[in-house]
């Protein structure tokens, strides 16, 4: 029997998609900027980390400590990557949205 996967919230999906896009360069700044560039939503860095913490607790995302730079005041970066369970949950959530909106394009676009 297939493992049951959680449906993700919209912010969780957006953050996971940003991680997939950014690959090995995914950390707080790049994730925030990528989301702002693609969705027009200017999220707070606190909201990004809160979401990443939630995803990490579910095992959908893992993190490692990266390099520190002078412009960061000597503070280390934290790089994130999507795990296999995260990709599975993302696919399931996207499929659910696709299934629910199938055949509704005209109606959704008419209003």
């Amino acid at each position: 029997m297939a493992k049951r996967t959680d449906f993700l919230g919209s912010l969780e999906q957006i953050v996971l998609l940003a991680l997939v896009r950014l690959g090995s360069d995914a950390y707080g700044v790049t994730v925030r900027v990528e989301i702002e560039k693609r969705t027009g939503r200017s999220l707070s860095i606190g909201a990004i980390y809160s979401t990443l913490g939630r995803l990490e607790a579910k095992g959908y995302v893992s993190s490692r400590t990266g390099e520190a730079t002078a412009e960061r005041g000597g503070r280390a970066k934290r790089h994130f990557r999507v795990e296999a369970d995260g990709l599975r949950a993302l696919r399931a959530s996207q499929r659910a949205i696709d299934n629910m909106s199938a055949g509704l394009r005209k109606r959704l676009e008419s209003t």
Partner: protein
């Protein structure tokens, strides 16, 4: 170079968050701020920085509570708050026996209350991560209620001072524990770069 206000804002976030998250989050803020100083100018960058800090406080608090098992954190925080409130009431009764001037009486009561809050936050945080923060929020909430309802017989300055110094005392107690448990202040352990 970041100004004093920005450093304080960063420290506030560092106090609220677990160390591993705080280091990365504040580092990200400083990195993007430096970029924005170059592209948009120092004033707009400072405005952006403060907007980020203010908007980050709620999700950051939420994360801090979740990490520390928030139900237990609130219970422990409430016990510590009850202990601090009892100390305040006892102090008020004791001071009332020897003095009569309300404004003067309030000074030792406030000192005792703030000391108990700091001690309570220290102990609460030892028992459960996030409990010191819960205590600070409870103190802030009751201080606001007392200001609005005017239910206390204490002077207005006392209630205003409590609103600011109460949560600060709880944060100080929490910070004390963090520093002692790490063995050295975070600033001393931070690696120096560039």
């Amino acid at each position: 170079m970041h100004d004093l206000a920005q450093r304080w804002a960063s420290r506030l976030l560092e106090r609220l968050l677990p160390e591993d998250v705080a280091e990365a989050l504040v580092g990200d803020l400083l990195e993007e701020h430096t970029l924005r100083v170059r592209t948009a100018g120092p004033r707009r960058a400072a405005f952006w920085y403060w907007g980020q800090v203010v908007r980050s406080v709620v999700p950051v608090l939420h994360t801090a509570f979740r990490r520390g098992d928030w139900v237990l954190a609130w219970v422990v925080g409430f016990v510590a708050y009850s202990f601090a409130s009892s100390a305040e009431m006892s102090a008020r009764d004791s001071v009332a026996l020897v003095a009569t001037h309300t404004a003067v009486d309030a000074v030792p009561v406030l000192i005792i209350y703030l000391g108990t809050i700091a001690l309570g936050a220290y102990v609460a945080e030892r028992v459960r991560a996030g409990a010191g923060l819960a205590l600070g929020l409870l103190v802030a909430l009751t201080a606001v209620l007392e200001l609005v309802t005017d239910a206390h017989d204490m002077p207005l300055w006392y209630r205003c001072a409590l609103l600011i110094a109460g949560p600060a005392a709880a944060l100080a107690g929490r910070t004390l524990l963090a520093r002692w448990s790490r063995g050295a202040p975070a600033s001393r352990r931070r690696r120096t770069v560039g």
